[in-house]
Each structure stands twice: as structure tokens, then as C-alpha cells.
């Protein structure tokens, strides 16, 4: 008797510790694995170039394999037939016209014009006199040369020289600058980033004509060596922040970076959270505005979505257009967005709590209608709401992924399923449909952050179904505690509200006219907080009165 009791007691304590242990093991399973990754090393035959051209070309051939687009063209420099040269390039990444006109042609025809001796030619001389394309360097390191070649540089090798020249003659097909797909504005610039890093940088540069705009390039990804560029303005951004971002970027050890989302997940502060702590945009005006506030942008080659960090939670409710239209309407729109955020996350949960726990809070005439609609439906209110929410999410996801032509069919089916048939088939009551409609429409007000809303919505529906209003309050308190604990690169996520920063409130939910906001957002741009001269409110000239 005694023994069994003791066993139960012990196991309950042990059980708790094992529960924690299981969790720990789960986390370890998620985080750590055995480091088996094999480097995609090319066969390192030699570290540096030799003096023999043919030997060097053989080495290149061995490193790069026999891919059809790798071109190695040998030619004779000048007409002496004494010195041989070669260009090595990847055909699909380079501009053939430029190679022919500006590299090969001058080397063959123009060498004699310069009083060069073809038998004792040197790289410096070629760089200074012959090649008119821009040159990114001269080196004898194989690693560097191969990398340059893979980014679209043309390598020029000369027989007898132990160095090679990297000539920038990139050229490839890319799409032009188009309108943004996700962030649509009525008033404001219509250009969006593209997939090409340099094009994106040029879009940023064009808006900030300032020598202090700094770009730092990182090459991340063992296999892809993707170019990732941090952009900031020296003198505004906090230098500690630059160091922090650089060190986090350097810490990334992965095989590939295919989108900025990869970077985001590696460097964000809180990964296990539905809330993003790094914002992203495909509009250059937004990114430039964030850079000017003292943030750092991260442009990743191959994606039109540029990251900006650190991020505040208020930014969820802000759009670029808020700053282009007049402040009253902008403030109104931000309040609408906050309302939509809460409506969209909470309204199904509120419906569940009201209709199953606190019926006395519903006005009598409404509850009569609601009770009438509920009569004859088979499931409890939580299940009703869950069915409809999940159905809606399925329809929405189908609509997003489908080709345009089929998309219309989805909307017709969706309208029928959700709007009409679910009610007339007696599956759910009409009020549920209205609640879901409000929820769905509200969630489209903040399209960029729709993922937070959907996750929270399911949490709140479950809590409301289990505990009613108590559960919803529990969830809200939990959410606020979680938000207050979040940091984005050391900066409180809920600023300027918590901690309270009165100057920051001027551009939070409320937006004052520009002459009223003369400081940068809190915690950003610490070394240079003031962004405008104060007292710029337009008013009649005092002296002329």
C-alpha cells in the first residue's frame, strides 16, 4: 500500500522531469544534427597559377568540368605568333559582344599599336593600355579566379604570366522593373525590386544620392555563394548594429540562400514565435525610408524581397502610402488596420465564447435570431467555426496557388460553399458565415502579416472553445507578455509603446504631419536622432503682416 503510494508520488515528480526532458530532446532533435555536410570542394590540384598557359587551362577544365557553357578561347596576342593568350568565361553569364569587341579584338589587333613586345608582355600593361572593360582585379589564386568566373567575369590568361585578369563583362537576361505584386499603392512610386542584385542596389542608390550610403557584400551559401548585400547610411545607423548584423551574417553556414527568407530565419532574434522581427518589402521607397530611419537593409541576389531590420510591431500597421497622403486619413487608416487585425484574430473566438458561455451578453433580439439559426445544426459552435475557418483557408490557399484562369472557378465554388450551401445544407448557422466573412475580409487589410493572424486565430478559437472569455483573455495576456519580451536586434519589439517613447508615438498608430515628427524612431539612429528642423509648420510670413 505504502509502496505503491510512494511509487506514484515519485513517478509524478519524475514524470514532470521526464516531460521537460522529452521537450529538451525534441528541441535537440530540431536544433542539432550530426555534422555530415560535405563541402562542395572542387578538386584542388593547385593553389596558384603556373606560367604555362596550357597547364592552367587544363587545370580550369578539370575544376569546371565539361559543361557546355564554359568557354575557353585561345588566341595569339598581336601578330607575332609568339605569345598565346586565352579567355575563360561562362557563356550564359557574359556579354559576348563585349568580350569580342573589348577584350579579344584589342588583344589581337591593337597590341602592336602600343609598342608592346609580345614576347614579354605583362598583365599591368594589358590592364593599363588595352582592355577597355572594367577590371575587378589581377590575381594568381585559383579559388578567387574560379569564383570570379562563376559570377560572370571573364578571365584573361597569358602564356608566361603567373597571373590572370578578371574582367567584368557580365550580361544576362533578366526581367525589367515592374509594379509590385504584393504592396499595391494608389499614390506613390510604382517600381518594385527585381531578382537582380545590382538592379536592386541601383534602385536604392537612385533614391539616396548620398556618398554615405554604404554597401557591404557577403557571399553566403557553401554551394550557391549567393551575394548578400547590407545597405545602410553611415552616420545615421548605430555602428554596433552594423557589427551585430555582420557577425550574424558571417555565422550562417548553409548550403544555399535562395530567398531573403533564408537569411531572415538564420539571423532573427526569436525563431519560435509567430511574430516576425525582421520586416521585408519589395518596394524601394519603403526600404529607403527604413534605411533613412537608421535601419539596415539586406538585399539578397535572386529575390525581389529586401529585408529591413530592426523591426517594431507597429510597422505591421504601417504602409508607405501613409506618408504620401495627408496625416488625418493616414491615421484613420492605421486605426482601421489595428481594428481589422483584432477583428480578424478575435471575431471567431468571440463568437464561440459569446454563443456557448456568455449568452447574456448578446442583445435579446440578436440571440433569438442566433438561436433560431443554430437550431438543427449538428455540431457545437467551436466545431462550426473551425470547419468554416479551415474551409476558408483552403479556398484562399487554392486561390493563391492556382493559375489565373482556374482561379475564377475557385472563387465561384468558394462563394457557393461558404456563403450559401453550408447554411442551406444545415451544416452551420448563418451567423457563423457572417463572422467568417468579417474575419476573412479583415485579414486582407494587412496582407503582409496574414500568417500571424491565421495562427493566432486558431489559438484563440481553441481557447474560447475550452474556456470562453477567460480563455480569450488568457490568450491576449499571453500574447502581450510574449510581444513585450520580443527583441529585434536588441531593440524592444513593442517600442514606442513599451518602453514608452513620447517622440516615437508621433509616428506610430497616429501619424503627425512631417513638420511634427523631427526625430527618428526610438532606439534607431542613436548617434543622429534628429531628422528634420523643428518649427517648420507652414504659416504666413510674420514680417509681412
Amino acid at each position: 500500500m505504502y509502496k505503491t503510494q510512494k511509487l506514484v508520488q515519485n513517478t509524478s515528480i519524475k514524470g514532470a522531469s521526464y516531460l521537460i526532458n522529452y521537450f529538451g530532446r525534441l528541441m535537440r532533435f530540431i536544433q542539432y544534427g550530426r555534422n555530415k555536410q560535405v563541402l562542395a570542394k572542387y578538386v584542388k590540384i593547385k593553389q596558384v597559377l603556373s606560367t604555362s598557359l596550357s597547364e592552367n587551362l587544363t587545370t580550369f577544365r578539370e575544376i569546371m568540368g565539361s559543361s557546355y557553357d564554359i568557354k575557353m578561347r585561345e588566341f595569339v596576342i598581336g601578330n607575332s605568333e609568339q605569345t598565346k593568350g586565352a579567355v575563360v568565361y561562362i557563356e550564359v553569364l557574359t556579354d559576348r559582344e563585349a568580350i569580342n569587341q573589348n577584350i579579344i579584338k584589342p588583344l589581337i589587333y591593337d597590341v602592336h599599336l602600343y609598342d608592346l613586345q609580345p614576347d614579354r608582355i605583362e598583365m599591368r600593361q594589358i590592364q593599363n593600355m588595352i582592355i577597355s572593360e572594367s577590371i575587378s582585379g589581377i590575381t594568381s589564386d585559383f579559388d578567387e579566379l574560379v569564383e570570379a568566373c562563376l559570377y560572370g567575369n571573364v578571365l584573361l590568361l597569358v602564356d608566361g604570366c603567373q597571373e590572370a585578369m578578371m574582367i567584368e563583362a557580365q550580361g544576362w537576361e533578366s526581367r525589367g522593373i515592374e509594379q509590385p505584386e504584393t504592396e499595391i499603392v494608389i499614390r506613390g512610386p510604382r517600381e518594385a525590386f527585381t531578382e537582380v542584385l545590382n538592379q536592386n542596389i541601383s534602385l536604392i542608390r537612385r533614391k539616396v544620392n548620398n556618398p554615405n550610403l554604404r554597401l557591404q557584400i557577403h557571399k553566403i551559401g557553401r554551394q550557391t555563394k549567393t551575394r548578400v548585400c547590407t545597405v545602410y547610411i553611415e552616420g545615421i545607423v548605430n555602428p554596433k548594429l552594423i557589427n551585430e548584423v555582420n557577425s550574424r551574417l558571417k555565422g550562417i553556414d548553409t548550403d544555399a540562400i535562395l530567398e531573403s527568407g533564408y537569411i531572415e530565419q538564420f539571423i532573427e532574434d526569436e525563431s519560435i514565435s509567430p511574430f516576425p522581427t525582421i520586416s521585408h518589402s519589395e518596394k524601394p521607397d519603403i526600404i529607403v525610408a527604413k534605411i533613412l530611419e537608421g535601419r539596415i537593409a539586406i538585399v539578397v541576389d535572386g529575390t525581389p524581397f529586401v529585408l529591413a531590420l530592426p523591426m517594431f510591431f507597429v510597422e505591421v500597421f504601417q504602409t508607405a502610402e501613409d506618408y504620401y497622403i495627408r496625416p488625418f486619413y493616414a491615421t484613420f487608416l492605421r486605426i482601421i488596420r489595428v481594428m481589422a487585425f483584432f477583428l480578424s484574430t478575435l471575431s471567431p473566438a468571440l463568437y464561440v465564447a459569446l454563443s456557448t458561455y456568455n449568452q447574456e451578453l448578446i442583445p435579446t433580439s440578436l440571440i433569438i435570431t442566433m438561436a433560431g439559426a443554430k437550431q438543427g445544426t449538428p455540431f457545437p459552435a467551436v466545431i462550426d467555426v473551425l470547419i468554416m475557418v479551415i474551409t476558408f483557408e483552403i479556398i484562399r490557399e487554392a486561390g493563391v496557388r492556382l493559375p489565373r484562369a482556374v482561379g475564377q472557378a475557385i472563387s465561384i465554388v468558394g462563394a457557393l460553399v461558404i456563403g450559401e450551401e453550408a447554411v442551406s445544407a444545415g451544416l452551420v448557422g448563418a451567423p457563423v458565415v457572417i463572422v467568417i466573412a468579417i474575419t476573412a475580409i479583415s485579414s486582407f487589410v494587412i496582407p503582409a502579416q496574414i500568417n500571424i493572424i491565421i495562427l493566432l486565430r486558431f489559438i484563440y478559437i481553441t481557447l474560447a472553445g475550452l474556456f470562453g472569455f477567460f480563455g480569450i483573455m488568457l490568450g491576449l495576456v499571453g500574447m502581450i507578455i510574449h510581444l513585450a519580451g520580443l527583441r529585434s536586434f536588441g531593440i524592444p519589439y513593442l517600442a514606442p509603446f513599451a518602453p514608452l517613447e513620447p517622440q516615437g508615438l508621433k509616428d506610430s498608430i497616429v501619424r503627425l504631419p512631417f513638420w511634427g515628427i523631427f526625430f527618428r524612431p526610438p532606439f534607431l539612429g542613436k548617434i543622429n536622432r534628429q531628422r528634420r528642423a523643428p518649427q517648420q509648420k507652414p504659416q504666413p510670413d510674420q514680417q509681412n503682416n
Partner: protein
């Protein structure tokens, strides 16, 4: 083997933990389709001294409500949007639960609008039956209390035209009584606070049936006065004008029409009441307390059947005098009735307690007698503020 047992207990422990999360919340949840909305209740006794209480609860049938699509356009006896469940029991709760034998849904009291108490129950004393209305957690104290000569189930079956559910009709009638001042509107909260007070007598509105064409319609009027003491018993009534006199003193006349004869031609003039302010000051004399009641009443000339000019200075003064006289008559009538019943419906005892608690301790034992003998010094200040869109009757010469 031992390890297996330990593992089993661990698993059990984790499962139990999960159960605490999943199982505890739903205990209080009620689906809308499983509850019966009670909007009105009534209770009475067969005779004044009978033990059992006859309990009627009015339950809404949402499907038949015209706000639902598919409900019948016109409501007849067959498809009424409500049903009255009547059952005898030794207590109210007992009777309520007995109805579940023939009505499956559990009654939900959160939307109770009216409580109708029959004459017999009111005469027998209603303190004991109030217990259920206070104790039950679903009930809210906004329900109006009405005393009925007829059986409560009769009143709860009267169909008025605008609203199809009688108990909600009754709620509207009590609320609209404030436009005439002819009925006191007392909800459960007011009733309970009077019931719990040391001196103030509980009151409630009265309801009766009135023939209108072929139908009988509910008619809310006057005030029912209950005795103080262990059981609050119905001891008397105030008619419409006495009720308004009473409401003037407690400052609750929000609106109403005061009509009186204008002397030279004895034609009627009606004044619309706009505001009513009261100041009550008790004076503690040797022979007993004297109450200085000062009424400040503002009215507007609403209608005159008299064809002369009433806006001249002299006419206005006369009009004010007559207006004050009419108000005084109503107030004095109500006071005479209250004194006769020895029921302090005005809350004068509370005022004494607040002003002079020591004095109250001395007199509280025989307060009803003292109240019946105490003097009232009534001052009425009237003012007629507007005369509408015209100054004098356009057809007058």
C-alpha cells in the same frame, strides 16, 4: 520490468496532464441550440394561504420568430414565437425544474425581461420567492416587476401588435410609462434595494387587461405598495395621478402631461413636463421630523383649448400658479395615501438616517407611526419655459 512500470506511470502522468487541459473548460458551456431563452416569468398561488406556487416561464421559440427566414408571416395561435410553461411546485426552482419533464431544453434566465407576480402571492408575501431571483447566477437584475390582478399566465399570453413576445411587450410598456409618469417602473434591482432597506417600502408597477376591439391588451399603470416586515405583503395601490404625485417627490418624472382648467372659461390647458428636480431637507423638531420638500418643475405649454393669449406676463403667472396647484394636488394625494398605509415609499427614513444617524436610532423602532404623523412642508416652483412654435392660439381673436 520495473522500467516498464515506471514508463507506464510516466505516460499516464502525461496523459492526465493533457486531460486537465482538455476536459476542464467545457463544464459551463451551453450550446445555443440546447437552451430555452426565458424572457418572462410569473408566479402566483391558488389561494393566499396555499403552500404551492404556480410558476409560469415564458420561453421563446426562435424558429417561429418573424426575424427568422422561413417563419410564418403572421402569427396565429398555432405558431406563436413563444410558449408558456406552467407548473406547480413547492418552490420556484422546484417548479422550474419540473418543466423539464415536458420541455427538453434547459431554461436560460440571462434574458429575463419581466417578472409578473399574481395578486394572491403578493398578498401572501413575496420575500421568500425573491431568493431564487437573487441567488441564481444567470439572472440579471434588470427585469421589471409587475403586480397583476389576473393570473400571471393570462398576462403572459396577451399579444400586442408591435412585439410578438408578451414579456418583451410588457418591458416596453413599463419603459414607456416614463413618458406619462402614470406608472412607476421598478426593476429587480430597485425592488431589492427597497426590500433590503430599513424603512423604505417596496413598490412595483401594476398590470391589468383592457379590452381593445376583440382582443385584450395589457395595461401598465399605477403603483403597488408593499408592507415592510418579514414578508413584503401587498397592502395598497396608488392610481395613475397619485403615482405621478409620488414620482414627483422622488424626482423620477421624466416626462408627462399635466392638464388643468383655466378659470375664466374652464377650458383645459396641458403642460408638458420637461424636468423635475427635488430637494428634501429634514428638520428635527421636538414633536417629530418635518420634511421640507422643494420641487422645481419646468414645463412647456403643450396645448391649450382655451382660446385666449397665455403668453402675457399676467397670464403666465396665473398659469404657473395653476400648474403648481395641480402638481401639489397630485403630490398631496399620494402623501395622504402613503400616510394612511403607514408605508414610507419616498425613502424619508433613509434621508433622516443619512442626515442624523443618532436621531434615526431613536425613532427607527416606530418609524411607520412617526412617518404617518410627520409634517411635510411642500414648496413647488414651476416655470413654463416654452410655448411651442406659436405664441397664442391662431384662431383666437
Amino acid at each position: 520490468m520495473v522500467i516498464l512500470v515506471v514508463r507506464f506511470y510516466q505516460l499516464l502522468f502525461i496523459l492526465l496532464l493533457l486531460c486537465t487541459i482538455c476536459l476542464n473548460g467545457c463544464w459551463n458551456s451551453k450550446e445555443l441550440s440546447d437552451i430555452a431563452l426565458v424572457t418572462g416569468m410569473g408566479f402566483d398561488k391558488e389561494k393566499v394561504d396555499s403552500q404551492e406556487v404556480i410558476m409560469t416561464s415564458q420561453v421563446i421559440i426562435p424558429k417561429e420568430h418573424p426575424s427568422m427566414a422561413g417563419a410564418a408571416e403572421s402569427t396565429s395561435e398555432e405558431n406563436k414565437p413563444y410558449t408558456n410553461l406552467t407548473q406547480k411546485g413547492v418552490s420556484i426552482f422546484d417548479a422550474v425544474r419540473k418543466t423539464n419533464a415536458f420541455y427538453s431544453n434547459k431554461q436560460f434566465w440571462g434574458h429575463l425581461k419581466t417578472v409578473i407576480i399574481g395578486k394572491n402571492a403578493a398578498k401572501a408575501g413575496i420575500n421568500s420567492y425573491m431568493d431564487f431571483l437573487i441567488r441564481d447566477h444567470e439572472l440579471r437584475r434588470q427585469a421589471y416587476i409587475l403586480i397583476s390582478e389576473k393570473k400571471p399566465e393570462t398576462i403572459l399570453g396577451l399579444m400586442a401588435d408591435m412585439e410578438l413576445i408578451p414579456s418583451i411587450t410588457m418591458q416596453g410598456l413599463v419603459e414607456s410609462a416614463r413618458f406619462s409618469g402614470f406608472a412607476s417602473s421598478v426593476n429587480l434591482q430597485n425592488f431589492l434595494s427597497r426590500l433590503m432597506s430599513e424603512s423604505t417600502a417596496p413598490i412595483a408597477a401594476l398590470v391589468k387587461t383592457k379590452k381593445h376591439e376583440a382582443n385584450a391588451l395589457p395595461h401598465v399603470y399605477g403603483t403597488a405598495i408593499f408592507s415592510k416586515g418579514k414578508q413584503a405583503r401587498l397592502i395598497g395601490k396608488l392610481n395613475e395621478h397619485e403615482t405621478r404625485g409620488f414620482l414627483f417627490v422622488i424626482g423620477q418624472v421624466k416626462s408627462g402631461i399635466v392638464s388643468f382648467k383655466y378659470p375664466p372659461t374652464e377650458e383645459i390647458v396641458s403642460i408638458e413636463l420637461l424636468s423635475n428636480k427635488v430637494a428634501i431637507k429634514p428638520l428635527f423638531k421636538k414633536k417629530g421630523p418635518v420634511f421640507q420638500v422643494t420641487l422645481k418643475i419646468i414645463g412647456a405649454l403643450g396645448e391649450q383649448l382655451y382660446l385666449g393669449d397665455l403668453t402675457s406676463f399676467q397670464a403666465k403667472a396665473k398659469l404657473n400658479r395653476l400648474f403648481a396647484q395641480e402638481v401639489r394636488r397630485e403630490v398631496m394625494k399620494s402623501m395622504a395615501k402613503a400616510k394612511k398605509l403607514k408605508a414610507d415609499i419616498y425613502g424619508f427614513g433613509e434621508i433622516i438616517y443619512q442626515k442624523n444617524p443618532h436621531y434615526w436610532q431613536k425613532i427607527k423602532k416606530n418609524w411607520p407611526e412617526i412617518f404617518a404623523k410627520s409634517e411635510f412642508d411642500l414648496k413647488i416652483k414651476t416655470r413654463i419655459k416654452y410655448s411651442g412654435l406659436i405664441i397664442k392660439s391662431p384662431i383666437s381673436n
